[in-house]
């Protein structure tokens, strides 16, 4: 039932990548160009040259990305349209969030993020229902919900960006500056990564597993917001006021997304392996991708995560060099990034040079997620705790 795309018939002569682009691709590029030019024309006084560079780079990357993975284009358009609508509805006062119907219930960042949360949880339920009951329809619903959730998450981030500037010009910043914001980023990136591979492998059964980790992130997000009021937009400390943040943080989260999805595939691998040993014909085993496919995909995601994590760590080091005066200071966060990196390097070595496959690597991918989680949450929670204890 899971027929990878590549096996399908295709023309003898694959035209060159650029020749395969259609009208919509052109339109997409033109829109991105227009958006980039408009932004530079109107806002370049607010940006330094690196930020202009990042903006142009983002435009280019989005154009290419949309060409290579077509569904990004409608997603991008929807996010842009809804965000612009919200920005327009705000005008120049935050108070509109209380009075404007659309802002209040849909597109103020807080509402959009609540919608994202609800949609991700519903998507998770739909995927599980599809997997357990064998309902194709429910699987499709899961896909639609995941796309909608990602859209709302991105809209939430975009609008939050604007809201921070509405609070005051000094406070304004890209919303990747604290744990609350990056958790949204994490949920969206992991969701999109999953959607990419869902299409690629034409299999929705993995969704139940991957969306579970996204839902866990959403649960944390909600707790963090309701219990700790983390959704308040806070001004940035001076060290974070840098263009480096704009590239370092999102890169990091592609890495984390890859590792998280790999770990969930590890869980899926172990379950399929366990069920298949008992009953190779069980519905669960038939619905899931084959063990080989899971193993292969797990490797791809760890490779992807590792590559992005490498870049993110290097960017982080360069930023540290500029902000703190040293590219490496062995502070707990840096050191744990190194540990995560070494861990996955060892994982890759085992697979590539020792020929390990399957179960041990699946377990290791799961353990890897805990190491990653510690680097990304635990260091802040426990080591800073130890830290203050140490200063007693």
């Amino acid at each position: 039932m899971s027929v990878p795309h590549e096996y399908m018939e295709e023309p003898l002569e694959q035209p060159h990548f650029l020749k395969r682009l259609g009208l919509f691709d052109g339109l997409w590029a033109v829109l991105l160009l227009a958006g980039t030019v408009y932004t530079i024309a109107n806002f370049s006084v607010l940006m330094d040259r690196y930020e202009v560079g990042i903006l142009i780079g983002t435009g280019l990357a989005l154009a290419l990305f949309g060409w290579a993975w077509k569904p990004i284009r409608p997603l991008g358009l929807a996010v842009a349209a809804l965000s612009l609508f919200a920005v327009w509805a705000y005008g120049d006062t935050l108070a509109a969030a209380e009075t404007d119907f659309f802002l209040k219930y849909l597109f103020s960042s807080q509402s959009a993020i609540m919608w994202m949360s609800a949609l991700f949880v519903m998507a998770t339920a739909a995927y599980w229902f599809a997997l357990v009951m064998g309902s194709t329809f429910s699987g499709k619903v899961g896909t639609a919900l995941t796309w909608s959730a990602s859209t709302m998450g991105l809209v939430g981030l975009m609008v939050r960006w604007r809201e921070s500037y509405l609070i005051s010009h000094d406070v304004g910043h890209i919303p990747v500056a604290n744990l609350y914001e990056v958790f949204i980023l994490f949920a969206v990136i992991t969701g999109l990564l999953y959607l990419f591979y869902e299409k690629r492998y034409n299999n929705r059964a993995m969704g139940a597993f991957v969306l579970t980790v996204v839902s866990a992130a959403v649960a944390f997000l909600l707790w963090y917001s309701f219990e700790r009021g983390a959704h308040e937009i806070m001004p940035l400390v001076p060290a974070l006021q840098s263009y480096w943040m704009k590239i370092h943080v999102p890169t990091n989260f592609v890495g984390y997304g890859g590792f998280a999805m790999a770990a969930m595939l590890g869980v899926a691998y172990l379950l399929v392996d366990w069920r298949a040993a008992k009953n190779p014909q069980s519905a669960f085993v038939r619905r899931m991708p084959s063990l080989d496919q899971l193993d292969d995909l797990m490797h791809k995601l760890i490779a992807l995560g590792f590559a992005f994590f490498t870049v993110a760590t290097v960017l982080g080091a360069m930023w540290a060099a500029e902000a703190w005066g040293g590219y490496w200071s062995w502070d707990p966060k840096e050191t744990w990034a190194l540990i995560v990196w070494l861990n996955y390097a060892a994982w890759l070595h085992m697979r590539l040079t020792k020929g390990w496959r399957g179960k041990p690597l699946a377990w290791w991918a799961i353990i890897g997620l805990f190491i990653t989680l510690f680097a990304f949450l635990g260091v802040n929670m426990f080591l800073s705790g130890l830290h203050s204890y140490g200063e007693l």
Partner: protein, 642 residues
């Protein structure tokens, strides 16, 4: 290879230790935490500076050697692999590949080879054609050799990064330290008095140090932290701080800070002026100068110390700079005031009248420590401006015994002149035996007709003692007394009557004070404001038990001097590390996203027809290569049939 993985794991574990145990604290903290025995054990293991210990450096060194060896061993084979098309491959090997196919078509080998080669090119392969013995041709093709290069790039990158890192790790200094050539200074000395053994000349290698420069001052050195002390690293130029500026958010958090620096260097025609800010360092002669922090640079404080014991003596004027120690004579003995810090403003969240959350600036504050002759100290934070609460104004002072505790705040009520005078007088009168006794006697006079002649005297004594306990030690001491003397069932009632007595006695003293010393006309009773003052005073007195200071020091004037915290580094290895980083990033992407794949098409004449043997191998990544091979095979078949 096994060694490499073992080393990766070992480095990870060592790194974890360094994150769990906070590094480079003052040694005293470790002694307190672990006790003297374990302190020594951990010290011997170097756990207080894991990343600088010899064994950790050895681990890194081994990783470096192992990776270097690995790269050297694999390089020749990889380069060969990238360049050679292996046209001499044996037919037997081709047939043994997992991916191979054979078919026959019409046509001559050379013409077919051209056609199939062209198709492979169209599919993105580099090709080379050759004779394959007698009447056969062979086309070798490959793609993605950058993937193999990726291995070389990324692994040599690790070696290069380690080398750069070691250059910046300042090994000569570590060596000099271990041989005793230099010694960390642990005393707090003026820079001129630091012994030569702890001073490093300006032409040395890499370092990373910090220095605080007050406005209007300059420095030509930085401090390097070394184990339990510091070294002084000389700079080949002098840095002066012209002005330091800081901006704040409404919440009081720093928004941005920057320093106007002037670099004096003989080699400069005129001094170099440059402003640095967080994230915007200045690089001069390979020395990078960063804005890393800020602090007080020795602001001048003027304090008026109002004695708690003799409120009518003139307040003592204390003047000094933050960082200084001022000796003070008090009726309770010698004390030292250590001026620690000054804050020009203090913003705290408050609840606004409408219930919403807001912020309020409580104005400047001074923090000082008061040390007695035995070395015991309490720390105080005193606010300069009167603080309103309810309808009254207060002098706000916080006290704590260690920096890790929160302050216990006292609100001392201010009189009509915004002065502490009235409160201090009230307190002193209550402490004064004679005065108290008169008041008590007056009260007791109303207790007429007692049988026991000595009773009034006894009662009077105990009331005096009670009131003085309250004033000197606070309500806590009174409660303690009730708990130790009265049976449990009667404690509540006893406490209530004690408080009553205290209140009445002090109330009487207060009324006297208003009438006699302030000359108020109390014919209409005590005014509401004066009534409130008394309640506030009672509250303050009830909490003053642990205040511990013989005086209340009011900040009356200041002149702020800020200091900029600079971090100065020289890291000659930085560019090497960055080169390594670029190689690493490129290498990793090449490794993951370019797969080295080889194909062979052997075409052998077979009468009218040709027999085609198509085979291929992919470096790793079985699944995807299998799919690609099948696709190529279909295409080649179609092309050869045409």
């Amino acid at each position: 290879m096994n060694l490499a993985i073992t080393l990766l794991v070992a480095v990870s574990i060592a790194s974890i230790i360094g994150t769990v145990l906070q590094q480079n604290l003052p040694y005293n903290d470790y002694v307190i935490k672990f006790g003297p025995f374990w302190f020594e054990v951990f010290n011997a293991l170097g756990l207080y500076d894991v990343y600088g210990t010899p064994w950790f450096l050895v681990l890194l060194g081994l990783l470096l050697v192992s990776t270097t060896v690995c790269v050297f061993r694999n390089t020749p084979a990889i380069i060969r692999d990238m360049r050679h098309f292996r046209l001499d491959v044996q037919t037997k090997s081709l047939r043994s590949f997992r991916h191979h196919a054979e078919w026959s078509v019409k046509g001559a080998p050379s013409e077919l080879a051209d056609r199939l080669g062209k198709q492979l090119k169209r599919d993105g392969y580099r090709t080379r054609q050759g004779d394959y013995g007698g009447n056969a041709r062979i086309v070798g093709a490959m793609r993605g050799s950058m993937g193999r290069l990726g291995y070389l790039l990324s692994h040599s990158a690790i070696v290069i990064i380690c080398i750069g890192g070691l250059m910046d790790g300042n090994l000569p200094l570590k060596f000099a330290d271990s041989t005793g050539k230099i010694r960390a200074e642990t005393r707090d000395l003026p820079i001129a008095n630091v012994p030569a053994k702890s001073v490093i000349a300006s032409d040395s290698g890499s370092f990373r140090g910090t220095v605080n420069i007050p406005e209007g001052s300059s420095a030509d050195f930085v401090y390097l932290g070394l184990r339990d002390g510091y070294l002084v690293q000389k700079l080949p130029f002098e840095i002066a701080l012209d002005e330091f500026r800081i901006e704040h958010y409404p919440t009081g958090q720093p928004k941005s800070y920057e320093s106007d620096l002037i670099i004096f260097d003989e080699e400069l025609e005129e001094p170099l002026r440059k402003t640095i800010a967080v994230n915007h360092p200045l690089v001069y002669k390979g020395y990078a100068i960063y804005q890393s922090s800020f602090s007080d640079g020795g602001s001048r404080m003027v304090l008026q110390a109002h004695s708690l014991d003799n409120p009518d003596t003139e307040a003592l004027r204390l003047e000094g700079r933050i960082g200084q120690r001022l000796p003070v004579e008090t009726p309770r003995g010698k004390r030292t005031v250590e001026l620690i810090d000054f804050k020009p403003f203090n913003i705290f969240p408050i609840e606004e009248e409408d219930g919403s959350e807001g912020q309020k600036n409580f104005g400047p504050s001074v923090i000082f420590r008061l040390r007695d002759a035995s070395g015991e100290a309490l720390e105080y934070v005193n606010y300069m401006q009167p603080v309103p609460r309810g309808e009254s104004l207060f002098f706000l002072s916080g006290v704590r015994s260690t920096p890790s505790e929160p302050y216990q705040y006292l609100h001392l009520p201010l009189d009509e002149n915004d002065s502490l005078k009235r409160f201090l007088r009230l307190r002193a009168k209550a402490m004064e035996m004679n005065h108290l006794q008169t008041e008590v006697a007056a009260q007791l006079a109303s207790m007429a007709g007692s049988a026991d002649a000595e009773l009034p005297q006894k009662v009077a004594n105990s009331i005096v003692e009670l009131v003085q306990t309250f004033v000197a030690e606070g309500i806590g001491a009174v409660v303690a007394r009730v708990e130790s003397s009265a049976p449990e069932a009667e404690q509540d009632a006893a406490l209530k009557s004690f408080v009553n007595v205290i209140q009445n006695t002090l109330g009487a003293i207060y009324v006297d004070l208003l009438a006699e010393e302030e000359g108020k006309d109390l014919g209409e009773g005590v005014s509401a404001a004066d009534q409130r003052f008394f309640e506030d005073a009672m509250n303050a007195l009830s909490l003053m038990g642990s205040y511990g200071s013989p005086f209340v020091a009011q900040l009356t004037d200041f002149e702020q001097v800020q200091a900029s915290g600079l971090q100065i580094t020289k890291s000659p290895g930085k560019d090497i590390v960055y080169l390594g980083c670029v190689m690493l990033m490129a290498g990793v992407f090449f490794m993951f996203y370019m797969h080295h794949r080889r194909l062979w098409v052997r075409i052998e004449e077979d009468g009218e027809n040709s027999r085609i043997l198509f085979a291929g191998t992919g470096h790793r990544n079985r699944g995807d290569f299998g799919k690609e091979f099948q696709r190529l095979q279909r295409r080649l078949k179609a092309v050869s049939d045409a």
